[in-house]
């Protein structure tokens, strides 16, 4: 779909970015000391920290990815919401307090508290950098993907703008400005999503939804008897040959105009499709016509409406939250799937076809391609699902950019209280994602080619102003998370590696300067990665970052707290083995074969794509074995908890 960028959105974004930068410069003078820079002086109010947790955690992937997945496939996207939130339970009940008690600025501080081991510092710092970079890629790619349809700039401009603004935020006032950016973003995101949810409920459901203002929603023909399409005068059915042989499609050529329409065949009934054909010379044809908005050109129509509502009404009117969910479950919605056919002359045709789906089906686990395997019977497929849910559960409490937020509050009680505020804000937001996703699914405004655009387009179905605001907030969303990540990485370099591992003698002032230089370098790396990985699917990368974080960091953190015989060698080995095994597993998985290298996924070495269910236990096992092998009599370590 060709999107019209909104000048208003650019202005709203510039306003947000300007405010955030203004705050950064204003607060810059308060972050001169190391404690000021790395931990915002340890004096952030717990309520502010709680909302900042939400701003740190609710990344572009959470917001756009989950809404898009629900809008396209239904309930399955919500499984991510559940997993992402559940992770906070591990953070609150197991990790928060000891981490706060044992550490000063970084995650490595806490791990190394009892041992003063250079090995642990190095391993923990490297793991922080690896996890942060893995998490940075999808954020930066997301920024680039957003900027084009939303603000009208090319991909690399989005990456550069985000990289540049965030580097300024982090280098002016470190954790202080990072906190406030995250606080503003968290508030905006949750309030705005709540507002849109209210609008969705007030609008109710309709078989003829509003769509994008100024454009009529096309209701596609479905289940038409074949004769009514192929039998009319001037229609010529093209033979099913070459790549089209045996496929469920009928190509009908209009003899007068010469354009070819593709229909999907089910028995003797045909349904309309939308097609994008990319010719060998790179020209694009949409539904047989050159792609564009002018005369004699065509563009993909926006989609998404219920084909049947309960009681066969056309409109429900305003609905309560429970009523809305129930109505969705009892309706039938036209969802869209795609198929690709490459002709012998090199023309690649993507066919988007209708798939009317009952609510009973899409409102339960297994409706999307990602999780459809849970409805099958193969055991390894089920393990893949459980492994991902385990990674989401264990990953949150192992993400360095989340952990460092605990050092910004003054004591344990504040750490607890801020986590509770965080859980409330994040939980509320994740409840809203189901309404936003289902609202987008039935808004008539969806772009069949891009699920990430679902939430902004849902806003556009209400008003252009709302679209501008949500576009700008989505972009600000990237700023909040990226600044947290760059902060974590700069701490790992300046505090863990330079000061503690290499034992470089630095006074407070020089240490802060080193951290700022590190932040700039990480900012540049983030920009480069964001441009290099432009084509990668954002959701997978986030899942992988969770897998690596959980495998590398969680066994060490948990055992340090609960097993008295843990040794420094055990911790170092667990972090290294957990990190390398999960990273290696991912690189050898079917998903990487398909999406990273573009080779046949059937040749993948590992049996399923998500490593956590294997590599987290592996981390624990390595820690126990190495610790038992390196016990020294007479050097009894004291229990931490």
């Amino acid at each position: 779909m060709i999107h019209e960028s909104s000048t208003l959105a650019v202005f709203v974004f510039l306003f947000f970015a300007g405010t955030v930068l203004g705050i950064s410069f204003y607060l810059g003078r308060r972050a001169k000391s190391a404690k000021g820079y790395f931990a915002a002086g340890g004096g952030i109010h717990w309520a502010v920290n709680g909302v900042a947790f939400a701003g740190d955690y609710l990344s572009a992937a959470s917001f756009l990815g989950i809404c898009g997945m629900i809008a396209f496939f239904g309930y399955d996207g919500f499984l991510y919401s559940i997993g992402y939130l559940a992770g906070w339970i591990v953070a609150l009940f197991i990790i928060a307090e000891p981490l706060k008690r044992l550490g000063r600025y970084t995650f490595a501080d806490a791990l190394d508290n009892r041992f003063n081991s250079r090995g642990i510092k190095l391993a923990a710092a490297v793991s922080t950098l690896v996890v942060s970079c893995f998490y940075l890629i999808p954020q930066m790619v997301g920024a680039g993907a957003l900027v084009q349809p939303l603000l009208g700039f090319p991909h690399y401009v989005g990456v550069l703008v985000v990289g540049f603004i965030v580097t300024i935020i982090v280098t002016t006032a470190g954790m202080v400005s990072t906190t406030w950016v995250q606080f503003i973003k968290g508030t905006l995101l949750v309030v705005l999503c709540a507002f849109i949810t209210v609008l969705i409920l007030l609008r109710g459901l309709s078989t003829q939804p509003p769509g994008i203002p100024g454009k009529e929603v096309v209701v596609f023909k479905a289940g038409v008897p074949a004769a009514e399409v192929t039998g009319v005068a001037g229609a010529e059915v093209l033979p099913e040959e070459g790549a089209w042989a045996g496929k469920p499609y009928v190509r009908v050529r209009n003899k007068t105009t010469g354009t070819v329409a593709v229909w999907r065949k089910e028995g003797d009934r045909l349904s309309e499709t939308q097609t994008v054909a990319v010719l060998k010379d790179g020209k694009k044809l949409v539904n047989g016509l050159p792609r564009g908005k002018g005369e004699g050109q065509a563009d993909l129509a926006s989609v998404g409406y219920p084909s049947k509502l309960p009681g066969n009404v056309e409109k429900t009117g305003a609905l309560g939250p429970v009523e809305f969910i129930r109505t969705m479950e009892e309706s039938e919605v036209v969802l869209w799937r795609s198929d690709r056919i490459v002709d012998s002359d090199g023309t690649a045709t993507t066919i988007y076809y209708q798939k009317p789906t009952a609510g009973k089906d899409f409102m339960a686990p297994g409706s999307s391609p990602t999780f459809s395997k849970v409805r099958g019977s193969k055991f390894t497929d089920k393990l893949d699902f459980l492994s991902l849910m385990l990674a989401l559960f264990c990953g949150t409490a192992s993400l360095p950019h989340i952990l460092i937020r605990y050092y910004t509050v003054k004591d344990q009680a504040s750490a607890r209280k801020s986590t509770v505020v965080g859980i409330a804000a994040i939980g509320f937001f994740y409840v809203l994602t189901l309404f936003l996703g289902l609202g987008a699914m039935t808004s008539g405004a969806l772009d069949v080619t891009d699920s990430n655009m679902s939430a902004p387009l849902l806003a556009r179905s209400f008003s252009e102003l709302l679209f501008a605001v949500i576009s700008a907030v989505a972009f600000t969303t990237v700023l909040g998370t990226v600044s947290g990540l760059i902060m974590a990485a700069s701490g790992a370099v300046a505090h863990d590696l330079m000061t503690n591992f290499m034992k470089m003698e630095m006074n407070e002032h020089r240490k802060v300067r080193a951290a700022k230089v590190a932040a700039m370098c990480v900012g540049v790396v983030a920009i480069v990665l964001g441009i290099l990985f432009a084509k990668m699917n954002v959701n997978f990368l986030v899942g992988w970052a969770f897998n690596i974080a959980a495998s590398a960091n969680l066994p060490a953190l948990v055992m340090l707290l609960f097993w008295k015989r843990t040794t420094k060698q055990g911790i170092t080995a667990a972090v290294i083995v957990g990190m390398l095994s999960s990273l290696g597993w991912i690189l050898l998985s079917a998903q990487a074969y398909k999406d990273v290298y573009g080779i046949d996924p059937a040749g993948a070495i590992v049996p399923f794509s998500q490593p956590a269910i294997v590599t987290i236990p592996l981390g624990f096992a390595v820690l126990v074995i190495v610790s038992l092998l390196t016990q020294r009599p007479g050097e009894k370590t004291k229990a931490a908890a």
Partner: protein, 88 residues
């Protein structure tokens, strides 16, 4: 709300008994949540059909249980905050 950016003193002093108490409470509540979360995952992975059955007010188990997990997380978090001891 008061905002402080000044340097605070080094780490707070805690009684060992309080630390042990808080840790124990955390672990107990953690396992309570694991039961709920684990149940959800096992049902989704092995009996996805059960999840699509309407249970309350016409809303199916998948949605109810999903919202339930979010609400339970918050409730357990509030309980934890109440039962934790503060040393000073």
């Amino acid at each position: 709300m008061a905002l402080h950016f000044g340097e605070h003193g080094e780490r707070e002093q805690e009684h060992e008994g309080d630390v042990a108490h808080n840790t124990r409470m955390g672990v107990i509540l953690f396992f309570v949540y694991i039961l709920f979360y684990g149940g959800f995952m096992i049902l989704s992975a092995f009996w996805p059909k059960v999840m699509s059955r309407p249970i309350l007010g016409g809303v199916n188990l998948a949605v109810m249980y999903g919202f339930g997990l979010i609400v339970i997380a918050l409730v357990l978090a509030l309980i934890y905050m109440r039962v934790c001891r503060k040393s000073n």
